[in-house]
Amino acid sequence: MRPENYEAKRQPPSNEFELNFGPNHPGIEGNYAFRVKVSGDIVLEGKADAGYLHRGFEKLMENRLWIQNIAITPRICVPDPVPMEVIYCLSVEDLCGQEVPARAQWLRVLQMEMSRFAAYLFYFGGLGSTNGMYTPHYWGMADRDLILDLFEELCGGRVYHIYNIPGGVRRDIPDGWLERVSSTFDYLESRLKDYDDLVFRNQVFIRRTRGIGVLNQQEALELGVTGPNLRACGLPFDVRRDDPYLVYDQLDFDLPTEDAGDNLARALVRRADLFEILRIIRQVIKALPDIDGPIRAPIPNPLAWNVPAGETYQRVESSKGELAWYVVSDGGDKPYRAHVRGPSQTHAVQVLEHLAKGARLEDIAQIMFSLDACPPEVDR
């Protein structure tokens, strides 16, 4: 570094400082930056600086065949990739008016819930590390790997499993896989007690998170908060229950809520969600063997597949919140336009800027992690 390049700007004496969080910072999820203006250790103003992961996703999709696009969809949200595949398939099926066989629908629900569980374990690890507890990170990663092993057996990929295609899923489950799913999740359920002792009943964690980053219902609705973050403000809304897709209307599950709207509430909602996920997975495992039939509706030659003209807006619930896609087809073999409305866009930019105002400097990383935003999805 050349010292002459660094010269403090002459300014009237002041106690305000400007600080750059990221993009290369351990307290930042992924490749993302946040600039704050602090006075003492109180943040006066924060400004999100996204775009480090932008790869022109929506433009790339316009240059690929309908079938090729499946391969790049999971790259939008890395910790929780399955909803991206599913929603793309739902959009194409809606445009084609295709009926999906029942077995494929149940398999999709099973995958989505497994992926949600894995994403939550990732989240607890991150939230623990921002409070200085590294054990949840190590445990969460090791337990998440058990789920990734199941995925690997199902479709070959650990994180990016291009398993769903328009019309169904790629292949049927291997022999004995459902028993292994069931025993893995039994094991994971027995682990939850340890997580409670380690994190959620830990006084350090509770005191560090209670009353920080409080979002009330009115603000949450105005800012477009969705998913578990909205449920932490006391509003039980969930696309799975209120606008059911796939077979969620045949499943029985609750929506846990918390009233406080702070970091602790956001963690506890996700913690309570794990039980509901386990309930859904058990129901699917029970129902799946009785549902026979094909796993895939016939699709035309994928290399010359002209999807009828039209437009569609589909939404699903991912582990981050409400995820919606707007896809337009002009009757050709490629999408005319595909737009992603991800939940992280609001959580990582508007909500974070809103919550940063007046927060303490040491809580910024924690607020950021507790919102569970996903930077690749902001940038697309």
């Binding site: 700007k9 790869r55 990663m141």
Partner: protein, 228 residues
């Protein structure tokens, strides 16, 4: 006593008969404690936590994450680098102290991967900085990452991992590539030529037309200012 710091490395080796034994010992030590920079550049970064945590456990090999470039040895570029990120990656790379190694994880660093037609990403990482090891895959499994790191350790131990010298020896070429992407006014505040002189690595490719262009534009950086 002579000031050892001022003698170029090559000469030092010739005058001291024990130097190569010492160098080998140093190389062994370096290969056994790699601190990797925790900069999650792309989606491949999601496979790094499993590498470091309980299941695959990179720490038994002496690989552990480090948060600041000044204390790190290995820069992991985990995936696609958009142009905006690439500037930060280069700046980070230049800030790392000298025996430094670059590992390109993921297919996206090799040739652009599935974003080869994207307008926003840089395609080939070795155009912009020298790379020691590539680990292909989309995304590579943790076992692949660990095996790549073991290859790197072997390379360091046998003294073959010297890509960082490349950067000093061919600085003009790398700077030219960077200027092609970021425009002729691109500059980092690091004094690479001064560092190259320090290590005795100046060749005829260190200075050239691009460095001349850089010196033309080299002015004081604007005082860091935040626009809110």
């Amino acid at each position: 006593m002579k000031n050892l710091e001022n003698i170029p490395v090559e000469q030092r080796r010739r005058t001291n008969p024990l130097a190569h034994v010492f160098d080998e010992f140093m190389a062994f030590c370096q290969s056994r404690s790699l601190f990797m920079l925790h900069y999650c550049t792309g989606c491949g970064a999601v496979e790094l936590p499993p590498v470091m945590t309980s299941r695959f456990d990179g720490e038994r090999l002496g690989i552990s994450p480090m948060v600041s470039p000044r204390q790190a040895d290995v820069l992991l570029v985990t995936g696609y680098v958009s142009v905006k990120t690439l500037k930060r990656v280069i700046l980070t790379y230049e800030q790392m102290p000298a025996p430094k190694y670059v590992v390109g994880i993921c297919s996206c660093t090799v040739n652009g991967g599935m974003y080869w037609q994207s307008y926003a990403t840089a395609k080939k990482l070795s155009d912009y900085m020298p790379v020691d090891i590539y680990i292909a895959g989309c995304m590579p499994r943790p076992e692949a990452v660990i095996s790549g790191m073991r290859d790197l350790m072997e390379k360091i131990r046998t003294g073959k991992a010297d890509s960082w010298k490349d950067y000093f020896r061919n600085y003009d070429h790398y700077l030219g590539q960077q200027q092609r992407l970021f425009g002729p006014k691109w500059q980092t505040p690091t004094d690479i030529i001064g560092e190259a002189e320090h290590y005795g690595l100046i060749t005829k490719n260190t200075r050239g037309e691009h460095t001349r262009l850089l010196e033309e534009h080299q002015k004081r950086l604007e005082p860091l200012e935040m626009r809110l």
